[in-house]
């Protein structure tokens, strides 16, 4: 695509999606802070964003005939493909019931994630504002 809103907004929307998913995972960890045998998990944000930037591959337009038009450039993949495999946390102090959640760590991670989500929203908001300005042409 030569010109598109998608391109203008850039990686921000992908990053926002990943952040939202990550907050879900961290909320799950906090809710299960006292579940026996529960293993704390997390999303590798950096790797996920890298995948979102480079495209995951399988999600472009499918061509079943050589005369079909291929989608140019890399397309951001579906969110599930972008997220990839979830990682398990290595506990500092594993508890005897097999639970690996450290509530303080999870809370800090959740807060950080929420702040970065808001930062992302701000970037996206200012992008939208500048597009609006350009459209108005005042």
């Amino acid at each position: 695509m030569q010109f598109g809103l998608d391109k203008m907004l850039g990686l921000n929307q992908q990053a926002l999606k990943i952040r939202a998913r990550r907050s879900e995972v961290l909320a799950g960890n906090i809710a299960n802070a006292e579940t026996p045998g529960y293993k704390a998990r997390d999303i590798d944000f950096k790797a996920a964003l890298e995948r979102a930037k480079n495209g995951v591959g399988s999600s472009g337009l499918k061509t079943t005939n050589p005369r079909h038009i291929t989608s140019a450039g890399s397309t951001p993949g579906r969110i599930d493909e972008v997220l990839g495999e979830m990682k398990y946390r290595v506990p500092d102090q594993p508890s005897i019931d097999g639970n690996t959640v450290d509530p303080l760590r999870e809370k800090a991670a959740f807060m950080e994630n929420a702040l970065l989500y808001q930062a992302n929203l701000k970037f996206l908001g200012s992008k939208i504002k500048s597009i609006k300005n350009a459209l108005k042409g005042e």
Binding site: K17, A20, R21, S23, E24, V25, L26, A27, G28, I30, A31, N32, A33, E34, T35, P36, G37, Y38, I43, L83, M86, P103, K107, F110, M111, A114, Y117, Q118, L121, L124, G125, I128, K129, K132
Partner: protein
């Protein structure tokens, strides 16, 4: 949208923790419930938590928590010799529950802290949702 799932997960945590608080309250209230036979005596109860893996099969990211069941403590009951007690058996014994009050107090604090964490999570995700809704205004 995943931020709505965060609300569900936090709600599951809150409900699980409040049930835990409920059992603790019940244990503390019945700490001195006397009975005249071993079978009828109150035993300390505690919930067993489990991750909501099957219920949320479609969304494997965040997992809520559910109460799998409530188990009764197998610790020995307290037996006291009080022949004057109206509930004493033929031998003059009464049976007191196996509630450990110190344990219950610690449990109560832990439950209320966990409940608070879940409330904070719900609050934060609500804020994020509100900000997202006002995007581009």
């Amino acid at each position: 949208m995943s931020l709505f799932n965060v609300l569900d997960i936090a709600a599951s945590g809150m409900s699980a923790q409040s049930l835990r608080l409920n059992t603790t309250a019940s244990n503390l209230a019945n700490a001195d419930s006397v009975s005249s036979s071993i079978d009828q005596t109150y035993r300390a109860r505690s919930p067993v938590f489990a991750a909501m893996v099957d219920a949320l099969g479609s969304s494997p990211e965040g997992i809520g928590v559910r109460v799998q069941g409530i188990v009764e403590s197998q610790a020995p009951l307290r037996k006291q010799y009080q022949p004057g007690h109206p509930k004493a058996d033929e031998d003059g014994n009464i049976f007191l529950p196996n509630v450990n009050q110190i344990e219950e107090m610690a449990n109560m604090i832990s439950a209320s802290r966990s409940y608070q964490s879940n409330v904070e999570v719900a609050k934060t995700s609500k804020q994020l949702l509100m900000r997202t809704l006002s995007l581009g205004e």
